[in-house]
């Protein structure tokens, strides 16, 4: 079979759409690379650290311990909550840390690999995708630990908590969109890699991570919920902590945010991709 490719500048909406479709097909064709990158990333992490896989558990536990310290010791928030503080934080911090880490790693990795792998032609979008997959394995492990932690803090378990499983694909979709978007932005605007650390710290405070969504004053609510991560984070808290089935409007909003974010990320990434090879 003879494969033919004709390439030139994409002029006009149809040509651009055809190009994007082609890029989506390319990405599918490279699915094995995505899988292999994801599994080797996990493996590299395992062999390059003395505690290896143990870090998958240590990372979230240490993070929760630190935030709990901050909450209890310094801010004296401990007494007011009806749930144990570590559990309250865990239900959302895991999710937040997943988004934070995946996006930031993808930005750095896509840039580094672009320089390193310049002579080889393959869809550059694989790195964000592989990174999201690899991190999702760690997220799943940490989430699986949540019921154990709940029991340790004397909280009951509920089958509703299993609903966190179908929430994961929604979260992955949003995250890969963000990872694509910021990775491409980093080629246009090299300051992104530095800015993103600060941006994500701010973003965390502007998402219902260390406080519940209902604490946000009603007049800001609409604006606040435009944050693509807001509803999905709140859904995780409702399922894991409150044992409550999230309302259809929350889930629907989270799905819509995921689809929109992923689409914008994909389109932006591939509009910018032809420029990657020309930048250093």
């Amino acid at each position: 079979m003879v494969v033919e490719s004709i390439r030139g500048p994409q002029i006009g909406a149809r040509a651009r759409l055809a190009y994007l479709m082609q890029r989506a097909r390319d990405l599918y064709e490279f699915r094995y690379l995505v899988r292999y990158l994801a599994s080797s990333a996990l493996q590299v992490e395992r062999v390059s650290l003395s505690f290896g896989f143990l870090w998958w558990l240590l990372d979230p536990l240490l993070m929760i311990a630190l935030w709990t310290t901050l909450f209890v010791v310094i801010l004296e928030r401990g007494s007011r909550s009806s749930y144990p503080i570590p559990l309250f934080l865990m239900s959302t911090l895991l999710v937040w840390q997943f988004v934070n880490r995946t996006t930031r790693n993808s930005v750095a990795l896509t840039h580094y690999k672009e320089l390193q792998m310049r002579p080889i032609a393959f869809p550059r979008a694989v790195f964000a995708l592989a990174n999201t997959l690899a991190e999702s394995v760690k997220l799943s492990m940490a989430l699986a630990f949540f019921p154990v932690a709940a029991v340790l803090f004397g909280q009951p378990l509920s089958p509703v908590q299993l609903l966190a499983v179908p929430l994961i694909p929604i979260l992955l979709t949003t995250t890969v969109g963000l990872a694509w978007f910021f990775s491409a932005l980093n080629f246009v605007f090299r300051d992104t890699e530095r800015l993103i650390g600060i941006l994500f710290r701010l973003w965390m405070f502007l998402s219902p991570v260390i406080y519940a969504l209902e604490r946000v004053p009603a007049r800001f609510r609409l604006l606040y919920e435009l944050n693509p991560l807001c509803l999905i984070i709140e859904c995780f808290r409702e399922v894991l902590l409150y044992h409550q089935i999230p309302s259809l409007s929350y889930v629907g909003g989270a799905v819509a945010a995921a689809v929109i974010t992923a689409t914008i990320g994909f389109v932006f990434f591939h509009i910018q991709e032809p420029r990657f090879a020309r930048l250093n």
């Binding site: 003395s50 990372d59 310094i74």
Partner: protein, 282 residues
């Protein structure tokens, strides 16, 4: 006339004892002083190359972080006192200096060990060069801070100069910590993960985002043991409030002494382990 001046070729004797190694290393450091300077300068030059905002990042980064913490404390937690953003900024300058120096010393030493194994230069220059370049950034940032604080009614006065000894001591402390963590990270690869958490705790258990007065009395003792309590106050009081740092001379004295000891001990520890760096595959 000493013997060395008459020898046509410099003779290098490697003495395995610690005192011999210190002597050799100190003379190496003198010989490689240009490398230290060059490494520091080139890292300053390269760091923001390619970014649109370039070197303004040196000031913009702490300013942006200040904004983030202000949102967190003021808007979300409804806390914070007068001149809160500037109070946070002083702490951030001081802390970012420390965290960046140690972090970069670790990563640069590791990178050297994996890619420049065959180039024999004394590895002790690495933490030195990193701390030097970060110190230059710190001093520029402090100068910018004085300029930023002026519109808020904080005019430079002779008291401002009191910040200087605190900065010097923090630099010594940071250099010692850089030597210690860099040397350890070659052998223990998880260290950079641990320091992430350790530094987070060091920052949050010091009066950085809040003043000591906001901390419940029963927990205040923890803060007394954190050297950053002294460093933050030492920068903040003279620069922001135009006051001499207000703690007991005992606490200040201890922190000064600890910093000097850490600097020397860190250097010696690095030197002791340097011999086996090249035997580890990083």
């Amino acid at each position: 006339m000493n013997a060395a001046a008459n020898t046509p070729h410099p003779v290098r004797i490697r003495d395995a004892t610690l005192s011999g190694r210190i002597r050799a290393n100190l003379s190496d450091l003198v010989r490689f002083r240009h490398l230290v300077w060059y490494m520091a300068m080139s890292s300053l030059a390269v760091e923001s190359r390619g970014t649109k905002l370039g070197r303004s990042w040196w000031v913009l980064e702490p300013l942006a972080l200040m904004g983030v913490y202000t949102v967190f404390i003021k808007v979300i937690l409804h806390r914070g006192g007068a001149n809160f953003p500037l109070a946070v900024l002083a702490a951030l300058l001081s802390f970012e200096f420390f965290a960046r120096s140690v972090g970069r010393s670790m990563s640069l030493l590791k990178a050297t060990q994996s890619s420049m194994l065959s180039v024999a230069f004394p590895r002790t220059v690495i933490p030195l060069a990193v701390t030097l370049s970060e110190s230059i950034r710190l001093i520029i940032a402090v100068a910018a801070y004085i300029a930023i604080a002026a519109p808020f009614g904080v005019m430079p006065s002779p008291v401002t100069a009191l910040a200087l000894p605190f900065i010097v001591v923090e630099i010594l402390f940071t250099l010692g910590a850089s030597y210690f963590f860099a040397a350890t990270s070659v052998f223990f690869r998880d260290l950079s993960k641990i320091t992430d958490y350790l530094f987070w705790l060091l920052f949050h258990l010091a009066p950085g985002m809040y003043t000591l007065a906001m901390v419940p009395a029963k927990y205040r003792i923890i803060f007394a043991f954190n050297p950053f309590t002294t460093f933050f106050e030492g920068l903040r009081a003279p620069l922001l409030y135009g006051l001499a740092p207000g703690f007991s001379s005992v606490q200040t004295g201890i922190v000064f002494l600890v910093s000097v000891i850490l600097c020397i001990a860190g250097y010696l520890y690095f030197l002791r382990r340097e011999g086996s760096f090249n035997k580890v595959v990083v």
